[in-house]
Structure formats: C-alpha cells, structure tokens
C-alpha cells in the first residue's frame, strides 16, 4: 500500500482525536480519582464500583447514547456536532475518563497511608501533599494514562456511530480498517492495522520512557 495522502490524513486525525480525548479524560480523571482515593465519605465504595464498571463501558453503548443526544432531533442537536471529529472526541472522553479515574484512585490507594500523615505533619499544604503523592505514584499514574489512550485509539464502535466514518472528515484508522474489510480489501486493512499498532507502540514507548526515567535499579 502506498503511503498516500489519505492514509496520512486518517492517521493524523486518529492521533488528534484520541490525543485530545485522552488529555480531557486526564483532566477529569486525575482530580476525580484523587478525590475518590483520599476522600473519606459515605458512598465512596459505591462511586468506586460505578467507576470500575465504567472502565468496561462498551464503546458501542457510549456511541449510541452520544449519537442519540447529538442528533438534530436529540437534546444536544443544536450544537450541530454529530458526524464531526468533536463528536468522536466527546464519545472517546466518556470512554477513557472512567479508566483514568479508576486507575488513578487505585494508584493512590496503593500508597502507604502514613505518607499522607507524614507530609501534612511536615507542614505541607493539601495541594503540596497531593502533588507529592502524584509524583510518588507516577508509575501507576502513567500506566493509567496509557490505558486511557489505549482504550480510545483502539475503539471503533463509538467512532463509527458518532463520527459516521466520512471520508476526509471523520474517518479514523479503526473505522478505515472496518471499511477496507467490508470492501474485501484485506491487504489494505492489514496494512492499516499494522500502522495503528506501530503508532500505539511508539506512543507507549515514549510514555514508558518518561515513566521509567529516574527509576532506580
């Protein structure tokens, strides 16, 4: 398969959409997960169980609900977002946010609880304490980020339903693979799959490198 313009455009769109969605899910999931891990309030286990279920949220279900909301006849129809890249970003954020939240909470809960007391005892403010905990848990936190990115770069159900797989506008790598398969162009489909895997690998390689930097052996 030639590395034509269209493949490059599809690849860049995939990276953009999933990158924005992952960043948004990090902005939501990191504070929320921290709050869940450190908080001590009634219903905490219940919320955690909901979040943990959300980590297994099927992309097609998210796609269906987001699509129905964004249709012109739906409650958010006036935003005119359906079948645009932003619709995919929205759906993917909903898919990735519980993953980041749940794994953030798990990462912070696995720290020694005495660390919090110690930090506060040393006169750290609450913000300083949280920043320190994040740094302490950076390995599992980056793993949370990778898991969030992995869950959206690889999903196809939601992208297909809310994006519409429109050529040049909302076609991403996974929906292009489905299309090439449905056309019987298995070689092109395989080539795009290889491209997707290589990209995912490179991004995870970079994140792993950041993660492992400064780890003492």
């Amino acid at each position: 398969m030639s590395f034509d313009r269209e493949v490059i455009q599809i690849t860049l769109l995939s990276l953009q959409v999933s990158g924005i969605a992952t960043t948004a899910s990090l902005l939501l999931g990191l504070p929320f997960g921290t709050w869940l891990a450190l908080g001590d309030f009634r219903g905490r286990s219940f919320i955690l169980s909901i979040i943990n279920t959300g980590m297994a949220l099927p992309p097609v279900v998210v796609g269906l609900v987001v699509a129905m909301s964004l249709w012109r006849s739906g409650p958010l129809g006036d935003l005119r977002l359906i079948y645009t890249p932003w619709a995919i970003v929205l759906a993917q954020t909903i898919i990735a946010a519980p993953v980041v939240t749940g794994l953030t909470a798990a990462a912070l809960e696995s720290l020694d609880p005495r660390l919090q007391q110690q930090l506060l005892g040393l006169g750290a403010s609450r913000i300083q304490m949280i920043l320190h905990l994040w740094r302490e848990a950076r390995l599992p936190l980056l793993a949370a980020l990778m898991a969030g990115f992995g869950s959206v770069i690889s999903e196809v159900g939601a992208s297909m339903m809310v994006g519409g797989n429109i050529r040049g506008q909302t076609r991403v790598l996974t929906t292009a693979i489905v299309l090439e398969t449905s056309k019987g162009e298995f070689e092109r489909a395989l080539a795009l799959s290889a491209l997707l895997l290589i990209l995912t690998y490179l991004i995870n390689l970079a994140l792993t490198w950041i993660q492992q930097r400064g780890v003492k052996r």
């Binding site: 359906i82 079948y83 297909m160 519409g164 429109i166 299309l179 449905s182 056309k183 019987g184 298995f186």
Partner: protein, 272 residues
C-alpha cells in the same frame, strides 16, 4: 485459582458448539437485511426445508470475497458486473435472478438542486453536481455504491474529493441517517428507504428512470473450488427463493406496512 480454571473450561465448552450439518451460510448485502425481507424469507425457508440459515450481511464487495474464500454456501446480491466476474472465475456454480426493485434518489424535501423536475437520473446527478449540493455516498464498493459511481461516470462527472461529496463507507441505513442529518442527497435502493423512511427526514425526489433498475441474483458457490460447501442446502435455498412460494413471499413483503411491495419477484423475466 481452581475455581478460575473451572470457569475458564466452562466458557470454552460453551463456545465449542460447531455449526450443525443442516446449516446454510448465506452471504448477502446489507440492503436485503436492512429492508427486513430476510427476516420473513429465511424463517419460511427453514420451516419448509429444515435448513438453518446463518446470514452474513455485508457490502457486496466483501460478500463476494467471503464466498470466493469458501466461507459461504450461497450468495444473494445485486452487483451484476462483480457477480459476472465471480462466475467467470469459476467461484459460482449457478446464478439465477430472484427479484428486483429500483434505486431512487432521496434528499431533503426543499430539493436545493431541483432534481424533481429532471427528466433522467443523469440529469438529476448533473444538477446536484452543478449546484454543489451535499451528496452522501456509500463509498464502500457495495452494489449501490458501484451503481452510483457508474451514474456519475455516465454523466461524465467526477465528484471525488469535492467538499460537498461525503463518503460514509457504511451500510445503507447508516448512510441514510447521515444524509438526513446533513440534509443531503443520496442514492438508495427503494426497499431500504421505505424501511427507514419513518426515521429519516428525507423524501424520494427522483425515481422511475430504467437506468435505476436494481436486480438481485442468487448464486450457489461452486463445490469444485471448495469441497466443503453445503451444496444441497445452497440449492435448496436457490430453489426456494425462486419457487412460487418464495416469490409469493417476496411479492407480498412490505405491502401491509408500506403500501407497496419492496421487491418485485423475477419469475418469468429474463436476466439482464
């Protein structure tokens, strides 16, 4: 750990049920499934012959590839050129016409390109092109997509890459939904449109040109290429859909719900 192993074995066991002897694998287009015809036709066939039908509904391009690789026993399609190639290459044993319907051009009732008034389908396409009105294409090499491309081609127009020309790469139903949201034109088979009409904000704007005829053929897969195909079942299916009983079901399907048949049975007509 033991419990997990047991659970895993149970899961494995529940998946291992093989395809039964009396199953026929039918590969067909999304349009026959989306229109709902197969939901009526297949149970009647099973009732009469005892064969179960495993249906794979997909675009015509993939449908023929699936059959070429021996993964289907019988094919029900509407992509004449691709079917003839399939026959020539020896993958098909027998090809019989089953039914036809027609393609229609649908779009927003405002009809920005004024195609209602056009005398021919090609003139309608020319108006859409000239006015740069949104047109939503299947873009998936399905029978409908191949038909649409041949219409552009015959009109000597090339819409590829134009910003008003959207290619969805999806089935007919999804493409109609997108056309409705974008308020664009689309070429669709009448059956699928009638089945989707109540869910989309589109109307039929152009119809009736003989160029828009859409013929469905049934093809049995050649056992010389793939000895394991279920030829008996495939022939039973081909016989059933072309029998007077099968043709009667086709003739009546949709009349009650849509006030007109979605497909016209082919008995007595010649293969085009």
């Amino acid at each position: 750990m033991k419990k997990f192993a047991l659970l895993f074995l149970l899961l494995l066991a529940s998946c291992s049920e093989a395809v039964p002897e009396n199953a026929v694998i039918l590969v067909s287009t999304t349009s026959t499934q989306d229109s709902g015809l197969l939901d009526v036709l297949l149970p009647a066939f099973t009732l009469q012959t005892g064969y179960q039908v495993n249906l794979i509904a997909t675009g015509s391009g993939q449908a023929l590839k699936i059959a070429e690789q021996g993964n289907a026993d019988i094919v029900l399609l509407h992509s004449p050129q691709a079917e003839l190639k399939f026959m020539q290459e020896g993958f098909g044993l027998e090809r019989r016409p089953v039914m036809h319907n027609d393609f229609v051009i649908v779009g927003p009732s405002m009809d920005p390109a004024s195609i209602r008034a056009q005398p021919t389908a090609l003139a309608a396409f020319e108006e859409i092109f000239a006015s740069a009105s949104t047109f939503v294409s299947r873009g998936d090499e399905s029978g409908t997509h191949v038909k649409e491309l041949s219409l552009w081609d015959q009109a000597d127009l090339d819409p590829a890459g134009k910003d008003w020309y959207l290619e969805t790469g999806q089935g007919q139903g999804a493409t109609l939904s997108i056309a409705s949201e974008k308020q664009g034109y689309a070429l669709t088979d009448r059956g699928t449109f009638l089945a989707y009409r109540s869910n989309v904000d589109l109307v039929i704007l152009f119809e009736g040109d003989p160029i828009l005829l859409n013929v469905y053929h049934v093809i049995t897969v050649n056992p010389e290429k793939w000895p394991h195909v279920n030829l008996m079942g495939a022939q039973a299916f081909a016989d059933f859909v072309t029998s007077s009983e099968g043709q009667q079901i086709i003739r009546e399907y949709g009349v009650e719900e849509y006030g007109q048949p979605l497909f016209i049975p082919f008995v007595g007509s010649e293969s085009p």
